[in-house]
């Protein structure tokens, strides 16, 4: 370019304005309700200063289905299907928790074999629940491989559900007073085959993640919470244990023969995402231990309680036996005599203390039923946990807290 042309070009430039001034303006970012990283329908309105999160506010209730209201018009056995749809990653735990609550109210003692079968199903559900949470955490940090490896095992667990109750996701498993049927030889074979195979896969999974530099950079020290804050926020389950509090309903208030089994409660220290991940991993190992003990020491005996007024008789009996027909009719129509009373029963769900507060006035449906949903209670800590961190950290924290929309909204 000749110098004359350069001068002309310079003349056409606007006058110098000095460095550009940025106004310190916050950006509002809607994370959700249908964002692939939220794993469910709930919204976070984040105030962002550049990449940093200044504050956040959650909007929930997108899949509120008024289970507590519906439950006030349903016979006790029909409420099981509602509990399925709370934490749908571990439906059997919800089902069993509900059955145990009603059994407590009715004063029904469930035989040992049924209790052991319940433990087996609940631990399988816990495996599936933690598997999904940790697998998805991997996906959210950019590691798809681990998720694909372990998803086959989740499929195998669902096949066991299918063998036991006929359904896969919303299981409606068990009955008030026991299990609907005994474990079939196929189911026992599948469970026994699952345990060593699962150990192998879990080892592979841990090898992929536990000391993975990239993964650790993303999760160590991210979203930590102290034990005091966690308790104040009502954390339970793996999220509380990651903060260093060894509270586990299975140990503290044993139900369904959990006192018979030997297992440890893993605890973390800092309550950060890595600790949550590690606690869930270790819990899977402990669940496998419980499974092994339960399936190898499965007691002989009936799989349902001797309570004909509450437990459906076998269908063949209904056709032949007058008494069975009467009980069948009364139970199906919800005409069981429930005593007056109020019960609180808690089980260790996939995410923590899943409580059922049931008030019966002697009617065929509960007078009032309240679910203590662990997700609902601990999710309110989310803005505090991701304050000052980046958006990518917020995704990882949400994933590691295992917020399930069904349980959040009920």
């Amino acid at each position: 370019m000749v110098s004359e042309e350069l001068d002309i070009a310079k003349k056409n430039l606007p006058a110098e304005q000095g460095p550009v001034q940025y106004v310190n303006e916050l950006t509002t970012l809607n994370l959700g309700p249908t964002h692939p990283a939220t794993h469910g329908i709930f919204q976070n309105v984040l105030q962002m200063d550049g990449e940093k999160i200044v504050s956040g506010e959650q909007t929930i209730g997108y899949i509120h289905r008024a289970f507590e209201k519906i439950a006030e018009r349903r016979p006790f056995y029909q409420i099981t299907t509602l509990t399925d749809r709370m934490n749908y990653c571990s439906s059997p735990i919800n089902n069993m928790g509900w059955h145990m609550t009603v059994e407590k109210l009715l004063g029904v003692e469930v035989p040992k074999r049924a209790q052991y079968i319940r433990v087996i199903m609940m631990e399988l559900a816990r495996l599936a629940d933690h598997l999904i949470c940790n697998g998805i955490l991997g996906v959210d940090t950019g590691a798809f491989t681990g998720f694909l490896y372990i998803y086959q095992e989740r499929e195998n667990i669902y096949e066991i559900y299918e063998e036991v109750c006929g359904a896969r996701l919303t299981t409606n498993m068990g009955r008030i007073g026991g299990m609907e049927r005994d474990l079939s030889p196929t189911a026992i074979r599948k469970i026994k085959e699952l345990i060593p195979r699962f150990r192998k896969v879990l080892t592979e999974f841990e090898n992929l993640f536990n000391r993975n530099r990239i993964f650790m950079d993303r999760v160590v020290g991210v979203g930590g919470i102290t034990a005091e804050r966690a308790l104040s926020y009502g954390f339970t389950g793996p999220n509380l244990r990651a903060a260093g509090v060894d509270y586990d309903v299975r140990v503290m208030n044993p139900y369904s023969s959990y006192q018979d089994f030997e297992f440890d409660i893993p605890v973390g220290q800092s309550g950060d995402t890595y600790d949550r991940f590690m606690v869930r991993n270790e819990e899977m190992w402990q669940s496998l231990r419980i499974l092994e003990q339960a399936i190898n020491n499965l007691p002989e005996g009936p799989h349902f309680a001797d309570a004909p007024q509450y437990y459906l008789p076998p269908k063949q009996e209904v056709y032949k036996n007058m008494e069975a027909l009467i009980y069948h009719f009364k139970i199906v129509m919800g005409e069981i005599d429930a005593p007056v009373g109020e019960v609180y029963h808690a089980v260790e769900g996939g995410n923590g203390e899943l409580g059922f507060y049931l008030i019966s006035d002697g009617g065929r449906a509960p007078y009032r039923l309240h679910f203590r949903r662990p997700c609902f209670i601990y999710y309110q800590a989310y803005p505090e946990m991701c304050k000052g961190l980046t958006l990518s950290d917020a995704i990882v924290i949400m994933s590691s807290m295992n917020v399930i929309a069904g349980e959040l909204d009920a």
Binding site: H64, I70, R73, G234, Y344, R368, H370, Y378, Y379
Partner: protein, 166 residues
């Protein structure tokens, strides 16, 4: 190991007339407290050196439309993790004065539990930092868990209560 009698006696000694109706259905200590004393009571239990009720398990409400002057019952479940001891506190409220002090200064978890109770029952928690609906939409003008709102469409005549549950 704490016993129900021991805890109940301590609470009676401290609060006297403000608490009453002690009961233990299914071994869970249950009693009623007056509205004015609920916050001091929970703070006392929380800060008690041996009891240490440091965990708020749940807050919910129950509607009894037929009991005049005690239409609403707010239920608190507290848990002492160190002693593995649970208790349940009930506070009865009248429908025309449905106010109760908030527990949010003591427990962060009370925030959403109280919002949920407000949303579903209309119980107003005085002093709550952000008492808005949580599960239902803002535009809703009633509190659906109250017993006067039927689950089924009220115009349907084929779905009578006698056939479907309650």
């Amino acid at each position: 190991m704490l016993t129900n009698e021991e805890v109940a006696q301590t609470i009676i000694n401290q609060f006297g007339e403000a608490v009453g109706e002690f009961d233990d259905p299914f071994d869970l200590l249950t009693f009623t407290a007056s509205r004015d004393q609920i916050v001091p009571l929970v703070r006392f239990l929380n800060e008690h050196t041996t009891y240490q009720f440091s965990f708020l398990t749940d807050i919910t409400a129950i509607h009894y439309p037929d009991s005049a002057g005690r239409e609403f019952c707010v239920v608190y479940h507290l848990h002492s993790l160190t002693n593995n001891f649970r208790l349940r506190i009930k506070v009865y409220l009248a429908e025309d004065d449905i106010h109760i002090p908030t527990l949010t200064p003591l427990f962060a978890s009370a925030n959403w539990m109280e919002r949920e109770t407000f949303d579903l029952f209309g119980v107003i928690f005085d002093g709550h930092p952000d008492l808005r609906r949580i599960l239902n939409m803002e535009e809703m003008d009633y509190h659906p868990m109250r017993k006067q709102y039927p689950l089924e469409d009220a115009t349907r005549e084929d779905k009578i209560d006698a056939l479907f549950g309650r």
